[in-house]
Subunit: 249 residues, 2 copies
Amino acid sequence: MLKDERQAFIMRQINLHNKVLSTDISAMLNISEDTVRRDLKEMAEDGKVLKVHGGAISRSFHYPFNADNAVYAQAAKQQIAQKIIKLLKNDMVVLTGGGTTMIELAKSIPDNLRATFFTISPLVALELVEHRNLTVISIGGQLSPSSHVHMGASVINQLADIKVDLCLLGANGFSVQDGMTDSDWEVVQVKRAMIRAAKKLAIISIAEKLNSSQRMKVCDLNQINYLITELAPDNHFLSPYQQLDMELL
Amino acid sequence: MLKDERQAFIMRQINLHNKVLSTDISAMLNISEDTVRRDLKEMAEDGKVLKVHGGAISRSFHYPFNADNAVYAQAAKQQIAQKIIKLLKNDMVVLTGGGTTMIELAKSIPDNLRATFFTISPLVALELVEHRNLTVISIGGQLSPSSHVHMGASVINQLADIKVDLCLLGANGFSVQDGMTDSDWEVVQVKRAMIRAAKKLAIISIAEKLNSSQRMKVCDLNQINYLITELAPDNHFLSPYQQLDMELL
DNA sequence: TCTGATTATGCGTGTTTTAGCATGTTTTAA
DNA sequence: TTAAAACATGCTAAAACACGCATAATCAGA
């Protein structure tokens, strides 16, 4: 086996799996690990791969993670905000949760929309109230240090007394098998109460959160009226949800 | 599994959920918690994440209005904040209004103070909750676009149900003849309810608001336990108040 | 085809990195 | 105050590594 041939094989493996282990290549091609290591070293010097302890990984795989997490997925979130705005009509009563997507939405709402917003997030409330035609009502309660939203029994109580047209919730985990899920018990309780208080339910999720599950169940998929992601509704990534009884945006 | 691959996975989880727990990663990838901790430590040293007890959080997950905006008379307000802090004891229950002075106070509270804060201001709430030993409870209600505090009947109702050790209120007008006054009917109602809910009342006012009157009366001077300004208690400017039954700070 | 030079490969040796475990300490929350 | 969780630290075994060297493969020119 020629050297170039071998390195082409390694390159193919990396393009295929985003990584290779020296031991794997050694076993597959029946060559010594030393040779593989020498190959990888050489390829790394040529800038073709990134050498790491144990093997090598694709250059394109590793690179994007270091650079830009400050604005990670922000473009996607603004895109989502634009879609949500289409759901909002004058004189609607809306209930929202927290999260960065919701803040983006609050910023992007057109100034001429006349509506009432209930929210458990002080940050969202403060953004919303900058729009002069909105009435903003905070559902008060104990403020969670980690998630910056109001939680606890008082929130649940207040939610029991209201009925809104639309509830906007961010999803933490979302999958066909488990429905909408979350990792925090308190959050689940609040989200459930929010869903009970709403006639229609819209779930907001960036595509990467789809098909992931957390420990606690929030609601079934059939309770959800709208699923909003940054993807086009006919994107193959959404195919598991296309036949379900929810509108994809 | 390669180390870099693992760290990329962790990075991805953090970008998705703003945080990770060491135990979760350990379970998901079937590796020891030690390894996860070592990874997080390393990533924290590289500045990729913020390490916290139990896991790590996204570097960008710090709420947005830290921009040290030039607040009017900020030095005086910080001075006042320092004086108020002397009134605060462990296990106190405090009720606060809004205003820039209160925000300065919220920032300046020592981290080791263990207390419960009720507040009608979402901004104050968000500042307070950054101190880990504080329990912060928002009194929710309609958010006023101008003053950024919660107002309305719902606030009054909730205030009727609580009793706190100390109420911190900013004054809009303050004089010997008229007592504490304000210009907005709604604000007066809320302030009165706050005073009713408190055993002791501390009024915060920068000196230039003293000896001015607004149209509506909030309370008499004899209901006030503490008057806090940036001046020394024996300042001649405060002489009209020195013989009254309130403590000057 | 042969020969010498060059390069590539495998192996032995010793070193470094890694991951899990045991131990004792600190932090956290009840 | 106390018990559990999270942590730091040191240690160990195994894996991955670098290096030198011997041998094997490759190639150019006669």
